[in-house]
């Protein structure tokens, strides 16, 4: 009951709701700037509350190991509040700082890069979550396979065939595997999949090698592949790049004097 029904909000619903949320926030910003609600969202208190609540959520997950909490209504509300506060301070930061000659450029850019980057990273995880699919399949040697399973055990069928051609395990002296790789034909394309080297089949869909018959080693007649569909993955990357640039400025520029307010 506490789990957020993310499955309901798959594309295009998630995108529609995201656009509605952005439009609502910008309308509030443009028309009701003096309202109590907007003033609260822009106050330091809202910043501390949103960071504090998110921190509290992480602490509970950290201590209890209850990962489902991260997909619960609590997490939904807290993350939405965090994004709303971020969006509002970005809108203010963009406008106010642009008009101010006293604020050094690097500090303004640092502020924007860090906050926009964080908003994109958090937002892509939040709005993109319903579109994310993780499936596993047992790819058999020399046989065309389509049958896969979602992580909750539901069966599904891929729209293409995967055939395992060859499987190799290299070992250290002592029998510990040093590397393993699968040569497979995915949808007619011969590919090699290794740990840390997934095969990108299409935009947002990657295939990972996650396991094999450890007892048989190189003689393994199957391997376990994981198919991950994450259409928002490049959105996340763009946020990460902005955050990284902001972190570089955090390092270079260092602490600034307190804001006079």
């Amino acid at each position: 009951m506490l789990a957020f029904p993310a499955d309901f909000f798959t594309f295009p619903l998630n995108l529609i709701f995201m656009v509605m949320w952005v439009v609502a926030c910008s309308l509030l910003w443009n028309n009701c700037r003096k309202s109590l609600f907007v003033r609260f969202l822009l106050s330091p208190a809202a910043t501390f509350i949103s960071i504090g609540l998110f921190l509290g959520l992480c602490l509970v997950v950290g201590f209890t190991g209850l990962r489902w909490l991260a997909a619960s209504w609590f997490s939904f509300v807290i993350t939405l509040l965090l994004q709303t506060v971020l969006l509002f301070v970005i809108m203010r930061g963009w406008r106010v700082k642009a008009a101010s000659a006293t604020s050094p450029g690097a500090v303004r850019w640092r502020f924007l890069l860090l906050h926009v980057g964080l908003l994109i990273v958090v937002g892509s995880a939040f709005w993109g979550a319903p579109d994310m699919q993780t499936m596993r399949m047992k790819a058999l040697s020399g046989e065309a396979c389509r049958e896969a399973y979602f992580m909750d055990g539901r069966q599904t069928w891929l729209s293409y065939d995967i055939v395992l051609e060859d499987f190799q395990v290299q070992e250290y002296p002592g029998g510990v595997p040093s590397a393993f790789s699968a040569k497979a034909v995915v949808d007619g394309v011969p590919v090699e999949i290794r740990v840390n080297h997934p095969y990108t089949r299409s935009f947002g869909e990657d295939i990972y090698l996650v396991g094999y018959d450890a007892a048989a080693g190189s003689e393994s007649t199957y391997c376990i592949l994981e198919i991950v569909r994450e259409p928002w993955k490049y959105v996340t990357v763009s946020g990460v790049v902005l955050l990284l640039a902001g972190a570089v400025l955090l390092f270079i520029v260092g602490p600034t004097k307190r804001r006079e307010s």
């Binding site: 330091p44 910043t47 501390f48 960071i51 504090g52 998110f54 921190l55 992480c58 602490l59 997950v61 950290g62 201590f63 209890t64 190991g65 209850l66 990962r67 991260a70 995880a125 994310m132 993780t134 250290y172 002592g174 510990v176 595997p177 040093s178 590397a179 393993f180 290794r194 740990v195 840390n196 080297h197 997934p198 990657d206 990972y208 994981e226 991950v228 994450e230 993955k233 996340t236 990357v237 990460v240 955050l243 990284l244 902001g246 972190a247 570089v248 955090l250 390092f251 260092g254 602490p255 600034t256 307190r258 804001r259 307010s261």
Partner: protein, 270 residues
């Protein structure tokens, strides 16, 4: 061949020189009767000794790297080695910049604790590197984190000093350490995200190590926001710096002992 067996021959001289640097820097007094030439000489001696201690530790790290034929960054013992090294680096940099006489002593204590732990429990592992760790992300991810941990360790020392001496004066230095430390914490977390996507298929999985890394990051982000807005009492700020350091230890090794974290996939560094 350099191995953990000979670590003591590097550890003892390194600690001795770091202690020497601390003693010399403690004796050096800006406002005392000593002439400025003597002051400069003592400062130089302190810096020289600290640099020599670092050189000895570096020699061991490089030797271990070569003899293991892989970067020594996987086991707890190996990351503790880097932590000792970067604690001394961070202490030396803080001393160079702000000339706190006592910072070298504290960074020496911090480094020595982890060196002694390594002597007592070296956790010698085999030379193998599991496939998941064979990635270009491995070295930057770990070194960036260890460097930020040591900077934040120095900020923790400053916060304790702030509590003990009831002083506000530690905050400007703590701020710089926190800004740089948080920047590197961010590099570490983002490189971890990109690596996790490549290795495991998902940027974020709420794995205990990831969760505690996020807790640590959020604590320091909260500290920065309190400082930028000029809010937060001395006690609150010191509490956050101490709490941040505790959650950082939780992320680094504490989760190994946390019952709820036993399903972590970051298990190669036990």
């Amino acid at each position: 061949m350099i191995s953990w067996g000979v670590f003591i021959w590097f550890a003892v001289p390194a600690v001795a020189m770091a202690v020497g640097a601390s003693v010399v820097s403690l004796c050096f007094n800006d406002h005392g009767a000593a002439s400025s030439v003597t002051c400069r000489g003592r400062r130089g001696l302190a810096l020289g000794l600290a640099a020599a201690a670092l050189a000895v530790l570096s020699a061991f790290i490089i030797g271990l790297w070569i003899s293991l034929e892989r970067p020594p960054m996987r086991t707890m013992g190996e990351t503790r080695l880097w932590y000792s090294f970067f604690a001394l680096v961070a202490g030396l940099l803080t001393y160079l910049k702000w000339r706190y006489r006592w910072i070298l002593s504290f960074s020496t204590v911090l480094a020595t604790v982890f060196i002694v732990l390594n002597l007592a429990r070296p956790e010698i592992h085999d030379q193998t590197l599991m496939p998941a760790l064979q990635s270009a992300w491995f070295i930057p991810h770990v070194t960036v984190y260890m460097f930020s941990y040591s900077l934040l360790g120095c900020a923790f020392i400053l916060a304790v000093a702030g509590v003990v001496f009831r002083s506000q004066e530690v905050f400007p230095a703590a701020d710089t350490l926190i800004y740089i430390g948080t920047a590197f914490l961010t590099f570490g977390m983002l490189s971890g995200m990109l690596w996790a996507k490549q290795a495991w298929g998902h940027y974020w999985g709420w794995d205990p190590k990831e969760t505690w890394a996020l807790v640590t990051w959020l604590v320091y982000v909260l500290y920065i926001h309190l400082r930028v807005t000029g809010r937060g009492s001395r006690g609150m700020l010191c509490f956050l710096l101490i709490f941040g350091f505790v959650s950082l230890q939780m992320c680094w090794w504490g989760i190994n002992y946390l019952p709820a974290a036993q399903d972590s996939i970051h298990i190669y560094n036990r």
